[in-house]
């Protein structure tokens, strides 16, 4: 009786060992990557990429200025704005000299249609433009803001967009993913007087897939 029990336990032990070996050999998990592995491998890399290592990056043609903010700990550049403002510098007209009635329409910015802000709290000129020093903008704390650095002004209300813009989730880079970071300014895409994109027809259409 005792001997048979001994035989049974020995048999069970052998079976167990066989089972373990077979599990180890025939791993049921697929050899392919698991669901999180790509993100895990990406996150493991914490050394910054040497942007200068891409040698074929050329300097941006458009005029840029060094941003007064930081991007993930480093400096970056934004596209300049002033050269695109038709009648900058403003102070060349806004002086003490008299204006003739004849050219009044031309000179009063009649072409600017203001459509910024919700109904009831729509913005007026003076909300952004400096009331005295017309070559500058003015934020709500009364600080002078350069036209090239309008993100400092826009970010007062659109702080979420500004946060995303600094990080890179809003707006876009100019031409290159590598090299020194140069990004679009707020006003490169948005008309500050009517920032919402107008409705229009798409550039093309799609045929059904074959």
């Amino acid at each position: 009786m005792k001997k048979s029990i001994y035989h049974i336990t020995r048999g069970m032990l052998c079976g167990l060992i066989l089972l373990l070996v077979s599990i180890l050999l025939l791993d049921p998990r697929p050899g392919t990557a698991s669901e999180t592995s790509l993100l895990e491998t990406i996150k493991k890399v914490d050394e910054p990429f040497d942007d200068r290592s891409v040698t074929q990056v050329r300097p941006i043609v458009q005029p840029t200025v060094l941003a007064k903010e930081e991007y993930q700990g480093g400096s970056f550049r934004v596209l300049a704005r002033k050269q695109d403002i038709e009648r900058y510098k403003c102070s060349s007209c806004h002086t003490a000299k008299e204006v003739r009635g004849k050219s009044a329409f031309e000179l009063t910015h009649g072409n600017v249609v203001l459509n910024h802000g919700q109904e009831g709290s729509a913005l007026s000129c003076i909300d952004c433009h400096h009331p005295e020093e017309l070559d500058f903008l003015e934020d709500k704390k009364g600080r002078k803001i350069d036209f090239d650095h309008s993100y400092q002004l826009c970010g007062q209300c659109h702080f979420r967009q500004k946060r995303d813009w600094l990080g890179g989730a809003h707006g876009k880079r100019v031409s290159y993913w590598a090299g020194d970071r140069v990004v679009f300014n707020c006003t490169t895409c948005h008309d500050p007087h009517a920032p919402k994109f107008a409705k229009r027809f798409p550039a093309t259409y799609s045929a059904p897939l074959n």
Binding site: A169, F201, P202, A207
Partner: protein
């Protein structure tokens, strides 16, 4: 038979063999494979000479083109080529384009950059469906105008839906429509790409920088990869592609926007001819709303990594385990 053409044809096997693998053919014990190769080239060249006729003083350009085409026919898979062989085939392709179509092309073979893995993010809150990405892609990649081939598709979606197959991919009206959102699809360059496993000739593979590419000259057009792709990311060339001559993008890449022959698969390559030089893909460059983010996943300071870290992201059909390197995100 002092025919010029036959002489040239006889020379061809020499030229083909004079690659870096010549050592294996120079040995006395030439293998069955190299023997057959030489035989087939000789026979084919001779038959070609017969077909074209052995007219003394036949126009030199035509014979040059023939020679180039034979050499092209016996080239290797891109992954097996040495840099020298790559340069040779690119040179042949450029000369063929000049001879046949009078085009001046610059075809590159830029290798993948080190420490780079490309990733893409698409902002479904910002996209307004203007489809300027699509036209930019068509121009950049020399896509067939006759069949209106497009790598990118934009779907107009009902709120709450996240599956593009429920959206309208053929809209043509003023956009954006209130209370709708727009979602773009293209090749997602899966890290675990099913299409590359389906290919019987190994003509499609994932490059070290994460771009899934096609060797158009090794593709046999069986379309298994198209069937294997869960994202409808691949396109098939039913005919010879037609591109107006003045609209051809001349800066090309062997694995990218060069001319695809009839009956080959093609797809988005993240604009390999641009991205390997540090440039943004054409769709990202063209997007008027900034909905498209592109960058190096292995760079913790890149924009794409910022999106992955700080935004609500998802990938399409994530449960398949294909690991697309294309994320959708919301503001």
């Amino acid at each position: 038979m002092s025919c010029k053409k036959i002489d040239q044809a006889k020379n061809i096997p020499e030229n083909v063999r004079s690659g870096p693998d010549a050592s294996s053919t120079n040995g006395e014990t030439s293998s069955r494979r190299t023997f057959l190769k030489g035989m087939s080239i000789g026979a084919a060249a001779a038959s070609a000479a017969l077909v074209t006729g052995c007219v003394p003083g036949a126009d030199a350009a035509a014979s040059g083109e023939l020679k180039l085409r034979w050499q092209e026919f016996f080239k290797k898979n891109y992954r097996l080529m040495t840099q020298e062989e790559k340069d040779q085939t690119v040179d042949r392709l450029e000369r063929l384009a000049a001879l046949k179509h009078n085009q001046e092309l610059q075809i590159g073979t830029e290798p993948p950059l080190e420490n780079v893995l490309y990733g893409y993010a698409f902002n479904i809150t910002r996209c307004e469906g203007f489809m300027e990405c699509v036209t930019a892609c068509v121009t950049e990649n020399n896509l067939d105008r006759r069949t209106n081939t497009q790598y990118i598709r934009i779907f107009e979606m009902e709120p709450g839906q996240l599956d593009p197959s429920s959206g309208d991919g053929q809209y043509y009206h003023e956009v954006p429509v209130d209370n709708k959102f727009y979602m773009g699809t293209q090749c997602f360059h899966c890290e675990n790409a099913p299409c590359t496993k389906a290919c019987p000739t190994r003509a499609t593979w994932k490059e070290p920088d994460g771009i899934v590419v096609v060797d158009y000259d090794w593709c046999i057009g069986c379309r298994y990869c198209q069937a294997a792709c869960p994202y409808y990311g691949r396109r098939f060339n039913w005919g010879d592609s037609e591109v107006p001559k003045d609209e051809i993008t001349q800066k090309q890449h062997y694995l990218g926007n060069r001319k695809r022959p009839m009956g080959k698969m093609e797809k988005c390559t993240f604009c390999i001819q641009r991205t390997r030089k540090g440039k943004l893909p054409a769709c990202v460059d063209a997007c008027p709303t900034g909905s498209r983010v592109f960058g190096n996943l292995l760079d913790p300071d890149s924009e794409i990594r910022y999106v992955l870290k700080h935004k609500k992201v998802f990938r399409m059909k994530e449960e398949l385990g294909t690991e697309p390197k294309f994320w959708y995100f919301i503001d």
